[in-house]
Amino acid sequence: MSELSVDHLLGIKYLNKKDIELIFETADHFKEVINRSIKKVPTLRDITIANIFFENSTRTRLSFELAEKRLSADVVNFSAGQSSVKKGETLIDTVNNILSMKVDMVVMRHPNPGAGIFLSKHVKAAIVNAGDGAHEHPTQALLDSFSIREKLGDVGGKNVVIVGDILHSRVALSNIFALKLQGANVKVCGPRTLIPKHIESLGVTVETDLRKALQWCDVANMLRVQNERMDISYFPSTREYTQQFGVNKELLDSLDKQIVIMHPGPINRGVEITSDVADSDQSIILHQVENGVAVRMAVLYLLASKIK
């Protein structure tokens, strides 16, 4: 028997190491499937999935939709901008209305942390969190680890630094949980103002000198500065941020070793990384995107198989 310990994917926090291994093994098979000339399997043909996005997204949404279609699920899309949410409908009402149209799974992105957990307690459907505020973005963390595993063979024992806006980043939190679960060493690096207090309690160390952090790591995961979530100024200027925490080719070449560069996207070219770094051989950014589809297929497949 091989099944997940959870009925919903709400966050990496609720998974165990075995779950992650199972997701990766399944994703390996789906990666083979999506590289065939016919990329589709009929597995989820009697499953209907609603993609509910209360916040903007291109990559995640496309990736989920492709994953669903490659599995032959029926897909309905919903974005808050063009919906009755604007007319004052509550989250539970919105989702229950969608579910009464016989939907089995909900993939949801929401600006409020914990929205997925709340929903899972009130509606009868398997919930996949596609990002809830600054809380978690579990499938991103899974595909990041999957990409590290693919590139370096294993995640355990590797040194990973997460650089940038840790405070507002759901990718950072999910990644920390996922990496620690798999036995990696994790550092966070960024301006003090963008690193949450007590983050050490998650088992990570803080480094404010980017060069030192890069010198230490095997993998650097570069995050975007989330201007849209910043209500006050956290650093003097974008230029100053780039000078201290941006990675460019000269900096990479001056290190003793070849490190792997990752980015969850969207990239602000010239801010957190320069174009020549993003497009270099050391960057696995586009592999991350490809792996995203395989990993999401695995998550949907494993969760759908638990629907009774």
Partner: protein, 178 residues
């Protein structure tokens, strides 16, 4: 639970040689043929037959593939969750004569899934089925083997267990009854 031996290692060896010869008779030099073992248990039989054909009948260039049918099964969400296995097909099956190879033919549903799964790799010229054990009177679908090792009458709560030396320590086939 009791089990009785259906085939001994010696009998299996004789049957494998007969099946290899039957394949040889219909496929000659195997240039347009693909032998495809159905995951997980058909793989051992497929490898064994390919080995006999290569070593004892000097057939060169056998296309041997493994096909996983997990994502093509028709019982998703209706029973236990099966773990997927590796699909290994280094060739296209377009216009090839495909031979599906599995250890036991029971309800025929695995072969139904395999017939769908193979479409992802092209349109074969034709598809044949080879099984070591053919359980009579238990089919859910109109599927019959072209090459069969041994026909067996077994009731539904009996299980046919095929063991292979490379995986289970010895070549032997049991009929297990609960």
């Amino acid at each position: 639970m009791s089990q009785k031996v259906l085939l001994t290692s010696k009998e299996i060896n004789i049957i494998l040689h007969r099946l290899a010869c039957q394949l040889l008779e219909n496929h000659l030099d195997f240039t347009d043929t693909a032998l495809i073992g159905i995951q997980p248990r058909g793989v051992f039989l497929a490898e064994r037959l390919a080995k006999i054909l290569k070593q004892e009948y000097e057939v060169k260039n056998i296309s041997l593939g493994f096909l996983d049918i997990t994502f093509f099964r028709d019982d998703f969400g209706r029973g236990e969750i099966l773990k997927a296995n590796t699909t290994k097909m280094d060739f296209l099956v377009e216009d090839k004569k495909v031979v599906f190879i599995d250890d036991v033919l029971y309800t025929g549903r695995s072969i139904r899934a395999a017939l769908t799964a193979i479409q992802s790799f092209g349109r074969p010229k034709n598809i044949e089925l080879l099984t070591l054990i053919d359980r009579r009177f238990s089919r859910h679908l109109p599927i019959q083997p072209n090459y069969r090792g041994r026909q067996v009458d077994a009731i539904n709560n009996e299980k046919v267990k095929v063991m292979w030396e490379e995986n289970d320590g010895e070549d032997i086939v049991y009929l297990v009854s609960k």
